[in-house]
Symmetry: C2
Subunit: 186 residues, 2 copies
Amino acid sequence: MRVIGVDPGSVICGYGVVERTGKRYQLIEYGVIKAKAAGEALPLRCRMIYTRLQQVIERSLPDEMALESLFYAKNVASVIKLSHARGAAMLSGAMREIPVIEYSPKEVKRAVTGRGGADKKQVQFMVRDMLGIEETHEFYDATDALAVAICHLNKVHSPLGRPRSWKQFIEEHPDRIVGSKPRKNS
Amino acid sequence: MRVIGVDPGSVICGYGVVERTGKRYQLIEYGVIKAKAAGEALPLRCRMIYTRLQQVIERSLPDEMALESLFYAKNVASVIKLSHARGAAMLSGAMREIPVIEYSPKEVKRAVTGRGGADKKQVQFMVRDMLGIEETHEFYDATDALAVAICHLNKVHSPLGRPRSWKQFIEEHPDRIVGSKPRKNS
């Protein structure tokens, strides 16, 4: 099973595609989508995220998309910008019929490092170790995106390997679908 | 000049296309995009808004898109959902190279009724009167979307009729572009 993890930001959006075969994790590709300028207009920003993620999905053909859930406590203006960017990111999955699932930052950190309170450096260290990445990526957003993908691959135990439709996926994972029901962070 | 106004909601999204020739306003089309269920997953909701607005844009060929700006005071959970939907809506314009401009609810009400504090019924009445709409639409979202389009057509005084590119539009209206700079509600 192959998963694209996305860490959408309104300035930098990280992405990473990971394949799991049995207990083996393999890196397919990863990178960041940077805004041309910090003040770039939001519609253009959404377009860049959407277009670039579509390209990644087209060439890497992931089965599912995993996103970090939004941390509500940030200031409202940034939450609004971030949510527009997230809308564009999840749309890039939904337009390809790829289920989009979200995980809290704590879940992601725990899945990768064993500790919900791990810092970004520790997450990056573990991700690089698991996937055999030699270089240190300039941005944590890229390794954070890979961490979300790994988290999802860890958590999903589908005997079929992948769900065959949105409908089936929602039936099997009613609590995992973004926006369906409020879920407590665990 | 032809403008598509959009009133994006996470459950109901209104849209309306209006053309202005001199002082004459002409209704091209309007309607709403409803979620299949109130609890529909956000990626599917974004996909429906994006796909349907793309269809409207393809057949009505607007020059620009106008949106109502977000009212920050709502509760954060709804602002987040709404912003995802808005991201999908503005993306449908940006993917077609259509400039996306926003107006505060007050500006829209003032443009249509002369009063920033007008209620939805008054807005609907004025919109129906201006565009010669006989039926009362079931949803205010549709007439609200038409009101945003009318507001934009009122405010834009471009001697060229329409801006020829995003770059030019941004140069001419630096304060009107969504997400570029915070703007005071007027």
